[in-house]
């Protein structure tokens, strides 16, 4: 079970550790935060910046629900310390759409009904965006291999693969690995 982190416990209720000044660049905006050294990027996003689209599933890098892009590459934000990603350009699910215009993969997830409960979805979409950009969306098997770090307990995998394939075609990014 994931530990429930409130702002109080994330700061370390019993610890007298000094807070670190951290500048995070998220979705094109700079944020100046004072963080406990233990704060993960995921907790900084959710508890300090209130960007709750990135989800905490396992907190141990096994499920992929917390996937975000860092300088365009996918990372598990639960395994990054926020203080160590200063200066990196972080993109979350909240930064994907252009205003009301959904990203092609967001639209494809709706079109293909690629989720059930939705908890893994923002991580699936962020990983899928990277998967397409890497050129790893050339075939359904290719997509399954390169999306293996993102789990879906509802078992929507067939539809997730179809959505990624659609978006890869739409963005003209289908090429060999």
């Amino acid at each position: 079970m994931p530990e429930v982190i409130s702002p109080v416990t994330a700061q370390g209720a019993g610890a007298a550790a000094a807070l670190l000044n951290v500048v995070l660049r998220v979705n094109g905006t700079e944020h100046r935060l004072a963080l406990d050294a233990r704060t993960t990027l995921l907790d900084a996003l959710r508890e300090h910046l209130h960007l709750t689209g990135s989800k905490k599933g396992c907190g141990l890098g096994q499920c992929g629900a917390c996937t975000v892009l860092m300088d365009g590459k996918r990372v598990k934000s639960c395994l990054s310390l926020a203080a160590l990603v200063e200066g990196r350009e972080i993109t979350t699910i909240e930064g994907l759409a252009q205003g009301e215009q959904l990203h092609p993969l967001q639209a494809a997830f709706i079109e293909r009904d690629a989720f059930q409960c939705g908890y893994c979805t923002s991580g699936q979409i962020m990983a899928g965006v990277a998967c397409i950009a890497e050129g790893h969306a050339g075939s359904p098997q290719d997509i399954r291999d390169w999306m293996s770090g993102n789990l879906c307990r509802c078992g929507a995998y067939d539809h997730i693969v179809a959505a990624i394939q659609d978006a890869a075609r739409a963005t003209g990014s289908v090429r060999g690995g």
Binding site: A37, L79, L84
Partner: protein, 87 residues
Amino acid sequence: MHPFILDRPRDLSAALALRAQAGRNDAPAEYIAGGTDMVQLLQENVRRPERLVSLAGLLDNGIDVGSQGLRIGAPPRLWRRWPPTPA
């Protein structure tokens, strides 16, 4: 997670001067690079260092093929760089 002091040295010699140790449960100071392994160990209290020394951005992440053979730095991502382009 046990509280720790986080050092973010500017270069490798500054990082080495902090005399952290790797792979020991009893070391007062340990290194952290990306965090994929270390953050899990910290989360589960397998490691409880008093100090963590960050190696982020300090290590050679190159993969090079030269006349002496193949040279691989400590933290490169293989799948982005394989096969390497001969120099």
